[in-house]
């Protein structure tokens, strides 16, 4: 078995395009589900809004796809209104049902032959983002790594990477130290430093394994910066009185209503805000590939984003970034591991004579089973995510 292949795949996925666009989407879902308690199962629909807005702008109107970004925001707002207005006065399950049905409508319509002339049917829209793809500084045909001291990174890049690694170390180190210290403040400083250094070492070692082509790399840089900015905004917003109302609604909307807050309006705001953020996820994903395909916005995508979010922990900004990274790390690990296993077992994995894997396409099935199991077990045992807060967890049992 080729373990270095497995680790390289895992670590590349850890920071990769998939993790990046999932993170953007998860930040949005976190606003809706994590903070406001709105079970939006139509996140893929919001993502499709973004993807198709940029795709169609470039393809049909012949203007630069950059114009698609404001259009995408408008689409997302409209989509959020259609979802929210009929359902947000009702119980949570209605929202789940309607959002998932509407997202499905969007997918059916954009992939239909009937509307092929607008949305390109099941082929989608291709090669629209040339003004992004062809933009310097990264050469699409060469390979780049996130390792600050590799040849592919210049001085400015190295400094930027090191700074962001340092920030990550401080934040993640804090989180881990808290976990380690079990809410006790004694000796916290030194634990924080140890964790921070550990994270830094991990990032340096891990980034050395990563390898991306120029286009992915460019999307990664843009996408992660965007994610960091949006996460920062959400962090601030959730510490403001607005965030307080939103969190209150998650806990008990009647109580909040009795205190004079227009719960309906706040829920709508949260739904739309989360949707607009998810739109950027769709934009980044489609732009990073220069194409839009309807099947990338199926209902399963919403569920995967949800799983990634729960993995990182609900109602925490850090959770919506770390979660998708872990999610794709785990998936790629399982995928690469099973691939190598199948290869080394001669194309067949039989256990007790039961043919579990007989061809490479079966691996995807097991990867998805892992996702489903992850969602079930996390939701039951660790709804606060892998780095959950003990105190909060104790409250759930009540």
């Amino acid at each position: 078995m080729n373990w270095s292949n497995i680790f390289s795949a895992t670590l590349s996925a850890f920071f990769g395009v998939n993790a990046m666009y999932f993170a953007l989407s998860a930040i949005g879902l976190n606003v809706q589900f994590g903070y406001a308690g709105l079970l939006n199962f139509g996140q893929a629909g919001f993502m499709a809004c973004g993807a198709y807005a940029v795709g169609m702008t470039a393809h049909y109107y012949g203007i630069s796809f950059w114009w698609g970004i404001p259009i995408a925001v408008v689409y997302a707002v409209i989509f959020g209104l259609i979802m929210g207005v009929p359902t947000l006065r009702l119980r949570a399950d209605y929202l789940a049902i309607v959002t998932i049905a509407l997202a499905e409508c969007v997918r059916l319509i954009v992939r239909s032959v009937t509307f092929k002339k607008y949305f390109g049917g099941s082929d989608g829209i291709n090669q629209f983002a040339n003004s992004f793809v062809n933009r310097t500084p990264f050469n699409p045909s060469s390979k780049y790594s996130l390792y600050p001291f590799s040849d592919s990174v210049n001085a400015i890049g190295a400094v930027l990477l090191l700074v962001s690694f340092a920030v990550c170390s401080v934040l993640l180190g804090h989180m881990l130290a808290q976990k380690w210290a079990k809410e006790e403040r004694q000796g916290f400083q030194s634990k924080w430093i140890i964790c921070g250094v550990a994270v830094m070492v991990f990032l340096l070692v891990a980034s050395k394994q990563t390898e991306y082509d120029g286009l992915s790399f460019k999307s990664l840089v843009v996408g992660w910066i965007l994610a960091a900015i949006i996460a920062g905004f959400i962090y601030m917003l959730m510490r403001s009185p607005w965030g307080r109302v939103i969190k209150g609604i998650r806990e008990d909307e009647d109580a909040v209503r009795s205190l004079g807050k227009n719960v309906y309006s706040y829920k709508l705001q949260a739904l739309i805000l989360g949707g607009v953020i998810a739109t950027f996820s769709g934009i980044m994903f489609s732009v990073s590939r220069g194409s839009v395909q309807p099947d990338n916005y199926s209902r399963d995508v919403t569920f995967y984003v949800l799983t990634a979010l729960v993995l990182g922990g609900l109602a925490k900004v850090s959770g919506s970034i770390v979660g998708p990274m872990l999610f794709w790390g785990i998936l790629s690990f399982v995928d690469a591991f099973l691939n190598e296993l199948t290869k080394s077992w001669g194309g067949h994995v039989d256990i007790f004579g039961i043919p579990l894997i007989t061809e490479s396409s079966h691996i995807g099935v097991y990867v998805q089973v892992v996702i489903g199991l992850m969602l079930v077990f996390l939701m039951v045992f660790r709804p606060q995510g892998l780095f959950g807060n003990k105190k909060e967890m104790a409250l759930d049992g009540r």
């Binding site: 399950d93 998932i100 569920f303 099935v365 489903g372 049992g397």
Partner: protein, 456 residues
């Protein structure tokens, strides 16, 4: 043992059970042939049968060429008696499939789409990608509108009955436990899958295979309650979290089914290829008439049982007000168990009937899930009768909406308006049902037969 550990144990058991089940069925289902990577080209001629329904007949002897991205041919084939040509491919990549139109039988012409089709590498979810070609000219106009309408109505009623059968369990489970089960579609698929494995792979007579599958469906429902949801309720896990758990369960089951059944749609060995018999303006196969009849009987029985029997009354009491019901000495856990069994059995039956209709695939249940939701929302969440009526209406609506009302002058109207005239294209036929659901929520959120709930 504390409840947490117990729950963990139970879940582990369930997973173990699932894996064993997967393995066992895997042995049954997969007669050790590994599929090669292939493009499956199917050429069918569309003709209108006596009932105005389009029938598809295979076209043999048509030549197809597959080329890779550089244009170099990687394989070619000629369709067999089933109208199918299987062309093996070297790798997952983008290909172009071209049908040689000169090899089509005389008088046949390609009807929809070009002779040249693109197959993307990403499309190889399973080892085989299917490319469909249709020939012939569908001549709708030859059959009168009213007889078409009657036909759709009959088909819609049949579909509505199946849908109602699937949805009653979903609604009862919601009513008694408050849980919106996103994995209910998988109960439907489960029934169809077991029936298919027994009937087709094991060659067991349907008279034995189908009842066994239905019982297995009930057991599967019960197992889900016992191993997953009942412990969750005991642990006081919130309903929203439980709903997310059902999503996880749905993902797992769907993929297990995909692994067992493979991606392609399969047909039962029994009751296949029947010709339709003419009854008045409509044309039905004996099989369809029978399933519709049985569905109707079952639904009437369920409704009567809920109305008349002691258990049925208890079930309704628990749905109405769980607290009150348990204070009057009804064992609500027992009722919930019963509801899961009944729901599982009904869903399995619905799955088998649907499978007879459309073939068995790993997603036949999950494809129905939203329509079931639309149905029970229409009828009022939690009301069993509401689910019955609502789903029936939705099923009818979905089928009938594909037939337009030719009232508008023959101009080229923009798409949604055009649907009124020409009918909703079948690829989008679920969309109006979803829209109807949203409109119902706006106008009468509690549904047709539902009630509002209490605050404070």
């Amino acid at each position: 043992m504390n409840p947490g550990d117990q729950l963990k144990k139970r879940l582990q058991h369930f997973v173990a059970l699932l894996l064993v089940g997967l393995a066992v069925f895997g042995m049954f289902a997969e007669p050790a042939h590994a599929d090669d990577l292939a493009v499956k080209v199917r050429v069918q001629n569309q003709v209108q049968d006596a009932g105005g329904k389009t029938k598809k007949e295979p076209v043999a002897g048509v030549k197809v060429v597959v080329a890779d991205a550089s244009g170099a041919s990687v394989g070619e084939g000629v369709t067999d008696a089933k109208g199918v040509a299987l062309i093996t491919l070297p790798a997952k990549a983008d290909y172009t499939v071209t049908l040689d139109e000169s090899t089509l039988p005389d008088g046949f012409a390609l009807q929809e789409g070009d002779a040249e089709r693109q197959v993307q590498g990403a499309a190889f979810v399973t080892s085989t990608v299917t490319v469909n070609y249709f020939t012939g000219a569908a001549n709708r106009a030859t059959v009168g509108w009213w007889s078409q309408f009657a036909q759709r109505l009959a088909d819609g009623a049949r579909f509505g009955l199946i849908l109602a059968m699937c949805a009653v369990g979903l609604s009862l489970i919601f009513g008694t436990t408050g849980l919106t089960n996103f994995a209910h579609g998988e109960l439907v698929t489960f029934g169809a899958m077991i029936a298919y494995i027994l009937n087709t792979d094991r060659a067991i007579t349907p008279w034995l295979a189908f009842p066994v599958a239905i019982i297995a469906g009930g057991a599967f429902g019960l197992a889900q309650n016992e191993f997953i949801y009942s412990p969750l309720r005991k642990r006081k896990i919130g309903l929203v979290s439980q709903m997310v758990v059902t999503v996880g369960v749905a993902i797992v089951l769907k993929n297990v089914f995909l692994r067992i059944l493979g991606g392609r749609t399969k047909t039962f060995a029994a009751f296949n290829n029947q010709d339709c018999k003419r009854v008045g303006p409509i044309c039905v196969t004996p099989r369809d008439a029978t399933t519709a009849f049985i569905s109707l009987i079952i639904l009437v029985c369920v409704a009567l049982a809920l109305q008349k029997t002691r258990l049925g009354k208890a079930t309704r009491a628990v749905s109405d007000n769980p607290d009150l019901a348990s204070s009057t000495g009804i064992d609500s856990q027992k009722i919930i168990r019963l509801v899961w069994i009944l729901g599982g059995m009904l869903a399995a039956t619905g799955g088998i009937f649907r499978g007879l209709d459309e073939g068995v695939g790993p997603f036949i249940g999950s494809d129905l899930l939203f329509l079931m939701f639309a149905g029970i929302t229409l009828g009022g969440l939690g009301s069993a009768y509401g689910a019955l009526v609502g789903s029936f209406v939705i099923g009818l609506f979905v089928e009938v909406s594909t037939l337009g009302i030719p009232i508008m002058p023959g101009k080229n109207w923009p798409a949604p308006l055009d649907w009124l005239h020409n009918g909703v294209p079948s690829e989008l036929k679920n969309v109006p049902a979803y829209v109807a659901m949203i409109i119902v929520l706006l106008v009468r959120p509690q549904g047709i037969l539902g009630r509002r709930e209490r605050v404070g």
